[in-house]
């Protein structure tokens, strides 16, 4: 699939953003076509999370535009952006620690459109992520790291939404748990979900991705189909640690 498809579902054009005087993103453009899995790879502290924050509205871009289905969303408040269909599964999970797994999932379906289908979605999510079903009555803070990550994903799925933003899903997890989480992401892709995935470590991502962007120091330094990246030894050396 090409990133330059006719009209991408989500498009970022020349997005610049920063904190205080410090520029974090310097003119980033990314296109996410419907049904594609697009990835953004780069070292820590180079703006990947900030980019996702810009899309969901937690950070306001200083310039550039972010379009969902051709309509600008970058000036909307977060709740309105979420209502348009942006589902952000953030780094660090941001689950509600003192609520049960079930209540966390129900919060995912907070918006009226999702709340209307809450019961059906809950059944779907619990059968898609069985570990959550077993622990539905448990307080979220007592979950393991992998279960928390699953809860964050499940909560995002409860919202329905049109584009999933997934930020470093492998962060801080044991290799065997990373396998499980990536299996979940592969299943989501197989279901035809539109996904923008951010990772520091590219090796896992490249197998799944349709299109890869390398972010370095706030700029996209390379982008192309995942297959081309695998063949490019120099890039692999620099960005993927060989």
């Amino acid at each position: 699939m090409s990133a330059a498809a006719a009209s991408p579902l989500l498009a970022l054009r020349d997005v610049e953003a920063g904190y205080g005087g410090q520029r974090v993103l310097r003119g980033v453009s990314i296109e996410v076509p419907e049904g594609a899995l697009i990835t953004l790879i780069g070292p820590n502290g180079h703006g990947k999370t900030t980019l996702l924050y810009c899309i969901s509205g937690l950070v306001r871009p200083d310039s550039g535009e972010i379009l969902l289905d051709g309509q600008a969303i970058h000036a909307l408040p977060v709740d309105r952006i979420v209502a348009r269909g942006i589902v952000h599964i953030p780094q660090g999970d941001m689950i509600f620690p003192d609520m049960t797994v079930l209540d966390n999932l129900l919060m995912g379906a907070y918006l009226p459109a999702a709340a209307a289908e809450q019961q059906q979605r809950l059944e779907e999510v619990l059968s898609f992520l069985p570990p959550l079903a077993e622990r539905r009555g448990q307080t979220a803070s007592t979950l393991s790291g992998g279960e928390r990550r699953m809860l964050a994903i499940g909560r995002g799925l409860m919202a329905g939404g049109r584009v999933l933003l997934i930020d470093e899903p492998s962060l801080g997890l044991a290799p065997i748990v990373i396998e499980q989480i990536y299996q979940v992401i592969a299943d989501l892709k197989a279901q035809g979900r539109t996904i923008l995935l951010v990772e520091e470590n590219a090796s896992r991502v490249v197998e799944l991705a349709d299109h890869v962007h390398l972010l370095d120091n706030g700029e996209i330094v390379w982008n192309g189909p995942a297959g081309e990246l695998v063949e490019n030894d120099e890039l692999l050396e620099t960005y993927l640690g060989g």
Binding site: H88, F96, P97, M99, Y110, R155
Partner: protein, 292 residues
Amino acid sequence: MDTAIQIVVSGLTLGAMYAVGTIALSLVWGALQMLNMAQGALLAVGGYAAYTAVATLGMPLWLGLPAAIAVGGLVGALMYALVVRHMLGRPGFETNVIIATVGIALILENLVLRLYGAYPLLQPIGLEGGFQVGATYVPWQNLMILVVSVVLMLVIGNFLSRTRAGRAIRATAQHQRGAMLMGVPVGRVYVQVLMIGGALAAVSGIMLSTITTLAPTMGYDPMLKAFIICVIAGLGNIYGALTAAFVLGLFEAAVQYFFGVRFGFPALLVLVIVALIWRPYGVFGRHKQARL
């Protein structure tokens, strides 16, 4: 035995009133990290509003009391719209808002003073009579306060745990950004919380005024005690606050009975010091960060 009954009756009444005020403080702290120093003034506003509605305007109780409670909620909403909203999210919010709410308290208190004068007024609301348990006389009004408080706590508890709006408040308190990403308009949650806080303060003030008198500064003592209870329970911990409110109410009643009324408050303060040395995050507190 009679001594015990007397202490329990008086302690539960105190505890019930403290509990309502404490939940208000705790809710506001949990959701906004805002120490509301205007809580005491809100108690007075509620008490005087009920007085005006019933004694001056001649409203029946079923209309006058909700109206007075609504006034408390309205003041809470105004606090958000006029002051808190402009300070939220800025550096130093937690400190600045304390000073701002002290200012609001002074304004409200002087407004009450201007409108009603400095002389204590008698609250016309309240149940007459009482009943006998052994040698102890229990006024119906005390029982009423206990019942109203317990019912109110159950309503609030259910609202927070079982409704969509209640879940959104808890989510906002536990992870503000996480709640935003779920589509929760956190500004609206903050207004709701301050309105609930104001309404609960009004209820607390009305109850208090039925067993004492109305005075512009009537809210200070219960506010201080609510702070003490919050400190012991761990700020933002509602169920801990409830337990602590009743335990401290009983403790205060016992101290007052055995050592005299004036020792009640100092004894509470000693208890706080001991509790904080023993458990710096509160007896029921688990984290440094307080949550609902």
